[in-house]
Symmetry: C2
Subunit: 365 residues, 2 copies
């Protein structure tokens, strides 16, 4: 088979080719069981082994301490925007750091369950930077502080998680790390709960990973649905309800692939290289293209950019598709273009994009 096109979708997104090949080969018969993974009872020993292996590998990859439970849930990031306050807020105060569209959504949904307040916001600056943590307005009574550690739409990433205790705040930090999970280490000493919809940097939509510290399991509001109660899900090993079995299997294959490639440190090395190439091409285009995010807050995973002449947008996209560079259109709320450089995006894909950027600018500049 010839080379696959390069898929820059923000999610659902590209998967490693070897993962897809394994999934195709095992579709009718997983490891001689006579069943495909989609056909297995979640209670049977075959799927139990798939589940246990996925959990063990992601725990190892992210060095997750033993006091954190790892749950496979459903409902994605938008589901967690309700599930987190249902479980953690106690109906009290929740402080939200707003750095883009995703934390805005989290703020709005949390406000339905708790006294949610903006601790800091990058909105006035067009979400092009991260407000300095020393200026965050954190309440001593906050049940938790929420932030989105990588904003998929605005392309803003926390390269260091804040140390809330050093800021005088004892509340647990909740991070939505959907779109950069497994591209860098997580400093668990600074986190109480992390969640990630899998459809961005892991692969299959319909699986949500939740990493929750043991002491936060028992704070749910009475009206929290049982299927979304962290204690219930944890006590049942993510099998209170039937889990999204096939998605967990694919996630497990992705975890194995990351480990075999050299782990999260290697993913981070590649992410720095790939993002560096693309930002250099944008910044070096003499204004033909621009990314507007302040350098220290630029995301390695999601890189929105704009053509100086928006009238060329459709031509740009059509030409990209001809070269096998897919799904580069920006989110409708911001326009322009966006390249998502998740773990599964090979360096060759970024090189091909950079070549195209330069060629297109040369022809139309």
């Amino acid at each position: 088979m010839s080379q696959r096109p390069f898929n820059f979708s923000a999610g659902p997104a590209v998967l490693p080719e070897s993962v897809l090949r394994t999934a195709a080969a095992e579709m009718l018969d997983w490891h001689g069981s006579g069943m495909g993974v989609m056909e297995m009872s979640h209670r049977g020993k075959e799927f139990q082994s798939i589940h246990a292996q996925a959990l063990a590998t992601v725990r190892e990859l992210l060095q997750v301490p033993s006091e954190f439970h790892i749950l496979f849930m459903q409902g994605g990031g938008l589901g967690e925007n309700a599930i987190v306050p249902l479980n953690l807020s106690g109906g009290g105060a929740v402080d939200v750091v707003v750095t883009g569209a995703w934390s805005q959504k989290s703020l709005k949904e949390a406000g339905r369950y708790a006294q949610a307040r903006v601790a800091a916001s990058g909105e006035a600056g067009g979400f092009r930077d991260i407000p300095d943590p020393r200026n965050w307005q954190l309440r001593t009574e906050a049940a938790y502080v929420h932030l989105c550690s990588n904003e998929t739409i605005h392309g803003v990433e926390f390269h260091t998680l804040p140390d809330l205790r050093a800021l005088g705040c004892d509340a647990p930090l909740v991070i939505d790390c959907s779109s950069h999970i497994l591209s860098r280490a997580i400093d668990w000493s600074r986190v109480g709960l992390a969640f990630a919809g899998a459809q961005k940097n892991i692969g299959p939509a319909g699986v949500t990973l939740v990493f929750v510290r043991e002491d936060l399991l028992d704070r749910a509001l009475p009206l929290c649905p049982s299927a979304f109660n962290y204690r219930t899900v944890a006590d049942n090993g993510s099998m209170f309800n039937t889990p999204p079995t096939y998605g967990i299997y694919i996630a497990g294959l992705v975890f194995d692939w990351i480990r075999d490639q050299g782990g999260v440190a290697e993913m981070e090395r590649r992410a720095i290289e790939k993002a560096g190439l693309l930002y250099a091409a944008l910044d070096g285009s003499g204004g033909f293209y621009r990314n507007e995010v302040a350098a220290p807050a630029r995301s390695r995973m999601n890189i929105p950019f704009f053509l100086a002449d928006p009238a060329l947008n459709e031509t740009f996209l059509a030409g990209a598709k001809e070269r096998g560079l897919l799904q580069l259109k920006g989110h409708k709320s911001v326009g322009g273009m966006r390249a998502s450089l998740y773990n599964a995006m090979p360096l060759d894909g970024v090189r091909a994009l950079v070549d195209y950027l330069q060629d297109f600018a040369h022809r139309h500049g």
Copy 2:
């Protein structure tokens, strides 16, 4: 490839072999798009066409009237046990007909949001029959009446849905039809809402189908999470949050397969034939095997049965596995055996099971 084993799992469960072959063949490249289905943006035209086609086909197969919305959600039947009362109860009265383990669970979860009460129960009789609707205790103020139209664990099926109006009740009927959806027609004139976790008679775990009548969309309690609010999900075409795209794709392939086989009427004809064969073998075994459900309430989909001598259970299961008859162990709460004869179970599988039943009884009787 030689014949696949026959998989009698209650769910996740067997899928049509041709569906699995299509999924494997399209894993790296769906219809020349250069992307696998798992890698596609849910907003792109490729996945939009997959989604629209799946919706249209299931609407045609089940003759769903236009006043019903069809939603693809997440969280399964146990999720819906909270999502339904969050959307429909208004915190008021909910009447539940209890015919087995699944409606018991629904009753318990509804009680967290509403004044849920048992309208009728088969528990005293060991869930071996369906209480006569003429004796149901229905409240005039009920926001809805809930029943499970096929109890997966106890093997009890409603072969006719009750006509609540004829019983003097104006409340909408909610049915959990997870384990027999698409094996028979649904009389929509008697139903306000139907839901089904897909992992039983459709295939992929992590997708829940919800059929909800237009007039029931706007009754949600204020604390209903946005991602699980029927109005929000309907207004966004099941794309308020990222839907479980791959599961929807597989469900669509299963819908196509049902249509190509002759539709729901043909599925029902086969179900009657398959279940008839198995019940006849059990009933004709001279007491070696027994199914305890009253004949008019026997499920065509899930057939629990017991060996007269439970000491033979392990021998029975081991011998079955040797013959390629998989996942026959009964649910842990009732013991014994269970054969699930979903749409994707071929007649040959039931014949092979019946042969084994007779052979085993002959050798051990």
